[in-house]
Symmetry: D2
Subunit: 152 residues, 4 copies
């Protein structure tokens, strides 16, 4: 299977088969080891502070972690494609996981759409570190994230 | 209004009026400046890794952040009760927010019920820092968290 | 006293009167609320790993924290200059402090000179958050840092 | 070589051959995978805030990182002792390193002696996470730390 097809399959899988991602309405809109992107739209169910009508901090951390995981997994898939079987790759993907996550909340989570981008700042066979940002549709910078991930 | 009644009212409010907390099924079961506790039950909607059937890391970070926010708010309410009007206290509560959050994922999020506890490790008029832990119903330690909060 | 002179005085003070900064050879080479910079040269006393001859991680975290503190203090001084007396400003500066610090180590600390830059990503009357980077003289990116600071 | 002798040798090595540790006066006083401990005495060279005469935050982060690294290395040595040659073990030790570190500063760093303890909260073949605390000789809790380490 060519790399691009494999990458597309895994991206589709993650967008359709991860229940919590669907509960929040998160969609991986870019899935690449260079940069990954996750988007979601405002929904009242995502509110954490009613008087101020702002997103729950957990929504932000979930979206940032999803973007960080996506860039790490995409990078792993791109590295293994052609060198390992699809099954072996999928087994490694299933073993990836977040070791630790830090989120810096910069501005209240308000907007119609939210865009998280992630890039890898440290890559390795065992561990990768990704840096993430979340903006709203007006370009306001809402949060920074850093995640350390176990590479399957 | 006596402190205990005010604390109970705010706890009820947080359990019934925070949409994202309800979406996940989180309940604040202890609301005190000494220690706060948040519980939730397993639901398939909370899965982040289907092949392994484990919680999404964002569920864990949401629950830890909720417990940390609860202990900080409870501490604030206890400090102000009797010294400020209910309205003033509620305004301060509405202005509390997470500045940064770190989660350390220790074990896969598996179990029937999950219990997060939070205590304050640094308190102040401007900023408070809370430390959180999440266990499952068998006492397995799933995650640690640390949150720095703006005190309204 | 004009703002620029006050800023220069405080910068001189920090470069000449902070013993641990001098022990390591750290110099604040840019002191502004826009961006601050700290530089230091390789010395064998700073080694943490002898077989590999790389900097101790504590040197990196000290330099990043110093850069982060500098940008926060410079920003505070610039905001207060002309509105408060020099004494009041100095009292506020003395009360600034690090609440929490996160360092991500990206590459081994090797080089002849190291340059840390810091910018503010969240500013406020009570708390400021700064983001820092450390490179060596060849532009290799050695570490990222994030610090949350109490603003005096 | 018996495990206890190997552990003692490595502990001696770390106490006598790490320049930055010696510059600060840090001594590993307990070196075990169960718990490690680092101690150091007040010296004026370690001051970061002269008006208030408190330790530089970088001293605290260095000591916490040293304690965290010690517990991770001790655990690795204990696991490999008898199963690998001393040379192989030393090579693995030399490859251990900090991936990320978080420090929460709780109280001003004042005292005559400072004691850092570290335990492992997540262990693995690739990555270990340690949690650290720093107290002064009167038992005042000065800082918390969490470090994620690459296991050689």
């Amino acid at each position: 299977m060519p790399t691009t097809e494999l990458v597309a399959q895994i991206s589709n899988y993650m967008n359709s088969q991860v229940p919590f991602q669907q509960l929040l309405g998160l969609e991986i809109t870019q899935f690449s080891g260079q940069q990954s992107e996750v988007r979601f739209r405002w929904k009242n169910e995502l509110i954490g502070n009613m008087p101020q009508r702002i997103l729950h901090g957990g929504v932000t951390s979930t979206a940032l972690d999803t973007a960080g995981g996506a860039v790490v997994i995409a990078s792993l898939v791109e590295r293994l494609a052609g060198k390992a079987s699809v099954e072996e790759i999928m087994q490694k993907v299933a073993k990836c996981g977040t070791i630790d996550l830090r989120v810096d909340y910069l501005r209240p989570g308000r907007g119609e759409e939210f865009i998280c981008t992630a890039t890898i700042i440290r890559s390795g066979n065992k561990v990768a570190v990704a840096r993430m940002e979340m903006h709203n549709e007006e370009g306001e910078h809402i949060a920074f994230g850093t995640g350390t991930y176990l590479v399957g």
